[in-house]
Symmetry: C2
Subunit: 299 residues, 2 copies
Amino acid sequence: MKNVFGGIEAGGTKFVCVIANGPEEILFEERFPTTTPTETIQKSISFFEKHIKEDHLNLLSLGIGTFGPIDLHPTSGTYGIITSTPKPGWAYADIVKPFQKAFHIPIAFDTDVNAAAIGEGVWGVAQGLENFLYFTIGTGVGGGAIINGKPLHGLVHPEMGHIRLSQNTLIDAYPGKCPFHGTCFEGLTAGPAIEDRWGKAAFLLSQDHPAWDLEADYIAQAMSNFICTLSPQKIILGGGVMQQIHLFPLIRKKTLTYLNGYVQSASMLENIDNFIVPPGLGNQAGMLGAIAMAKNLVE
Amino acid sequence: MKNVFGGIEAGGTKFVCVIANGPEEILFEERFPTTTPTETIQKSISFFEKHIKEDHLNLLSLGIGTFGPIDLHPTSGTYGIITSTPKPGWAYADIVKPFQKAFHIPIAFDTDVNAAAIGEGVWGVAQGLENFLYFTIGTGVGGGAIINGKPLHGLVHPEMGHIRLSQNTLIDAYPGKCPFHGTCFEGLTAGPAIEDRWGKAAFLLSQDHPAWDLEADYIAQAMSNFICTLSPQKIILGGGVMQQIHLFPLIRKKTLTYLNGYVQSASMLENIDNFIVPPGLGNQAGMLGAIAMAKNLVE
């Protein structure tokens, strides 16, 4: 029997289940659409059960990084559930307990973005760093933070996509896509906001479309706020929108313009290309982060 | 010989030196204006030397909470100095070494706002909390954070007064007082901004002056951003502007309006009066925080 770890990247659109020991040893991986909690969780359980049996595996522990909001407090009566999500059927869905029942192994549970941050810290571009941020900018915007070597949870967990940004309405009068906050970070920059503002899906807009300068400007403003608030050693930007690699140089330049020399650090000012970066693990950051969380539990 | 701890709250306007064992046992305290580094640091050293000698004290350790920006990294060649401050004479002033030379005791060093946060965690309104924020809103705006029980430093240290806020220029077209960022949190809400905008010092404005609603609105917007970013269990607001106690109910209400039900936590939503609060240690938070830092070093 081979010792292995399980990981689940539970997204609002799709679930990714993986059996691995690290990025160099990904044994099995399966993705399926997020339907009802019962069906999606059952499919995930079946994936692990099948491989445990057929491939003679010893699943040591499981890591789950999920969309939220979620209850992360182990002493809470609702630990391990997705709480007040607007996603139909998923409000108050218990996501940890079904796996505990099925496998009787230690289970780590965190937000999808904290999981991705953990993955980047263990195997990606943030190895050796104690303080860094991971953002996904895609169908939504979320942020995870590692502070003093540990994921930031706090009262609930951060919702970094929902900070309010300053909008120059003479240049951009778009009212924002967030149903809660209108022109917050997510409301101004997520994929659906781009599509809604310009009448075309983001990936269909050419590189010289004015959408990208505006997009980079808002993202840079958010980054400058997060630098002032959290003083990270590195910021990793992932997610569908950030597949537009040409955004990176724009965001870096504009972030420094927003900071305007106030935060004095050579490792940021003289090394901005290594300060705001794409994920080292690409789109595997989330699922490998879940594996890293599982490994952390037992090692 | 009596065992005691030393604390310094090093502000841009005044230094507060204190010898104490806690809030119930403050033995000696002296305040003097911040002039040149040489003169001000020498006065501080003399205060401790005098009492050590005359009152037969054994000074076990010293805590310094200071205005900044500062270098907090023990392995850095410039550890213990104030770095790029615009304050005349203080740029690159070494603030730790003179005390090391004079007393040969352990010295703890942090920002003034982290010191105040530490003080509130040990003796004030944040006892037992692992994640909380302390802000001073006065001649400037600064924020300190305790995350997972430890002060947040990161790359440099937070500069929470400099996040950019959204301004409705139809209501308030004030260009902001911050020389770096114009309308950042500090540029819109610090004492000098209030005086500049309304032509009168903040403490001369009556409680029904429209200044306060606007002030509370910007502070609430900042608080909502910090809640989304850091997910604190409590936020403490101190400093000269926050002496206007009537601001608190306004800020609490507007913060909930900005969050608009997005962050679901009963301990915030149903208990906002205990969530955004004045310092439990009043204007002694900084100096007692320095004492707490000194105690932490040796206990």
